[in-house]
Subunit: 357 residues, 2 copies
């Protein structure tokens, strides 16, 4: 399918993956059509995020959690109806094929990525976890023209699609305010843990010690710049950090997102440690406040990034300061997305799978 740059186009159908009753199904879905201020891209790669796996399995809990929360404007996630198909996919890279009326956009054929936020008629809405707004698991996607970033340097689309998870890691590192002289302990070496330690390495933090139960993920951590990678069942994490050269202050990153991990960090961390929670533990968790109080710990939750962090993340990949090639362990057709969701549950086998429609 080759599209012309025209502002009025006939609406057709495309192939897109939709979450229905916990299963990813590929269906005919209406072609997204760019409005004013939007560009249409043909998806070249879209990474499968752990949050998508979690949403597929526990969507009802996620939606209920968002509905329970106050202090935020109602989010798209809190409005999701799980009885209707849900679009996901927020780590994408695509090629410009069209644009809306009166819209400035990069030339057709330009490879671009973008923060997953769409300027729609009803305001800004997230791309991903929506009944109405398309995500990256499809042939085409509309993006906000002023958010798109051209991908330079001949970078492969699958590498550019890693901009989003790397930005999550970069933001977590920024939340820590960490600088050389302070070491880091990264609990969990999944895609987000790897993103965190890659950014730490790019910023010359040392030592960086990764902690993961999986030998494959520990190997990957060493390739991404960790100075040590340990199995927490064999050696207490902070002891390993000291053995590997840590002596001064340390920032601990919780990138596991499972109950009990934060409390174990709190129990064993040195006095006045900063803990950055970037792993999304969806259910309730428990902890012993006295650990936090007696040691005056700081717990900072990290979630989103801003547009400048997203652009910096793309720059790290384009400039070769972070090599994401090691982290991309598989490629999947759109048709095989369900199997890829299943495959990603084995950390020995995979870290990040890119869906290439």
């Amino acid at each position: 399918m080759l599209r012309h740059r025209c502002n009025v186009k006939k609406r057709g159908n495309m192939q897109g993956a939709v979450l229905r009753r916990g299963e990813m199904r590929v269906e005919e879905v209406p072609d997204p059509v760019p409005s004013e201020g939007q560009v249409l891209v043909r998806i070249r790669a879209c990474g499968i995020c752990g949050s998508d796996l979690h949403f597929a399995d526990h969507g009802a809990d996620v939606v209920a959690g968002h509905r329970l929360m106050e202090g935020l404007p109602p989010t798209e996630t809190s409005r999701v109806d799980l009885n209707v198909g849900v679009f996901m996919g927020h780590e994408f890279c695509g090629e410009v094929v069209d644009k809306g009326p009166d819209t400035k956009a990069p030339p057709v054929g330009t490879l671009v990525t973008s923060v997953p936020i769409l300027k729609a008629t009803n305001g800004y809405v997230p791309i991903g976890y929506s009944n109405t707004v398309n995500g990256g698991y499809g042939e085409f996607l509309v993006l906000t023209s002023r958010f798109v970033l051209p991908v330079s340097n001949g970078l492969p689309a699958s590498h550019a699609a890693f901009t989003e998870p790397l930005a999550v890691g970069l933001h977590a590192v920024n939340r820590a305010g960490i600088a050389p002289g302070t070491g880091a302990l990264v609990m969990g070496a999944g895609p987000i843990g790897q993103a965190v330690l890659a950014v730490l390495a790019a910023r010359h933090i040392e030592p960086i010690v990764a902690v993961d139960l999986s030998p494959a993920r520990r190997d990957l951590a060493l390739r991404m710049g960790a100075h040590g990678a340990i199995d927490p069942t064999c050696e207490p994490s902070f002891e390993a950090w000291r053995r590997i050269g840590g002596g001064g202050p340390v920032v601990a990153f919780e990138a596991v997102g499972r109950p009990g991990v934060l409390n174990e960090i709190m129990r064993t961390a040195p006095i006045r440690t900063t803990i950055i929670v970037v792993g999304v533990c969806s259910g309730p968790d428990s902890f012993v406040p006295r650990f936090g109080i007696s040691k005056e710990l700081d717990i900072r939750f990290a979630y989103t990034y801003d547009r400048s962090e997203f652009a910096e993340s793309l720059g790290l990949i384009v400039d070769g300061k972070v090599d994401v090639a090691h982290l991309i362990t598989g490629e999947s057709s759109l048709e095989a997305i369900g199997q890829s969701f299943a495959d990603l549950k084995n950390p020995e086998q995979h870290c990040k799978i890119m869906v290439v429609p």
Copy 2:
């Protein structure tokens, strides 16, 4: 009893309160004798801290919690043997009566207070929660001479004894890094919550909204400088904060120390709120990490103060910037200390009782 300034003195006995099997008992205990670098004071007032009430009821849990914790040097608390008498009392003011050999000290008769840390032959040890080091619930106490601060301006001893809890509040406020332009919500208007809001008021923070179930404590909060004091069963706390004038950023202080309070703050706080946990919740607590993540909350635990904060706290009282008179709701003889521990459990009746031997 009048003591002479002499460096060698005969050892006798004094009246002191000792915790035995959860009960405060007044016994004959050996007179403390000042070594080099120490001064002996006659206690004029010692405040009963909520932590002492908690330790009397749940000492075994507190000690077990300290023993479980890594990352701190072994604390006196982790070494306490509950089968032996325990000395408590760390909010004291006394009159200098003697000093150790080759020791610089204020003249006999000077009213002083001090951080509750004793320089002993085996290093620095806390005053309070010890089988061996005396606390403030007795006739006499040895202090570290270079830590003692003279109480000026004719301040009553009971007011000077409030220096310690006020320093806890001051440190919590310092941990928040709060400045005018940011408002505060203080959950819990016990002695520590009152100390927090008194310091906030002295620093011209507004609005300050206190939250407590007790009408008496809400009245007290208004007297100490809160712009509003609300019953959380009648109005959601952050809504009240907005109604009372809050609009911009807010720091929430958790000064209740009961399970569930932190999670409710996390659930209802606006995005990017800083939460200072200064209430000591001793048992395990539970929370929903997603609340913290989605809103990128900062949770900072506050516990100790440093010597300059302690001195600043005394200065706030001496200079009349914080009037602690409202907070001192009772005075107790040493003999009646057990009854005072019981009386303090009723927030309608009491906020702070000073033991005056």
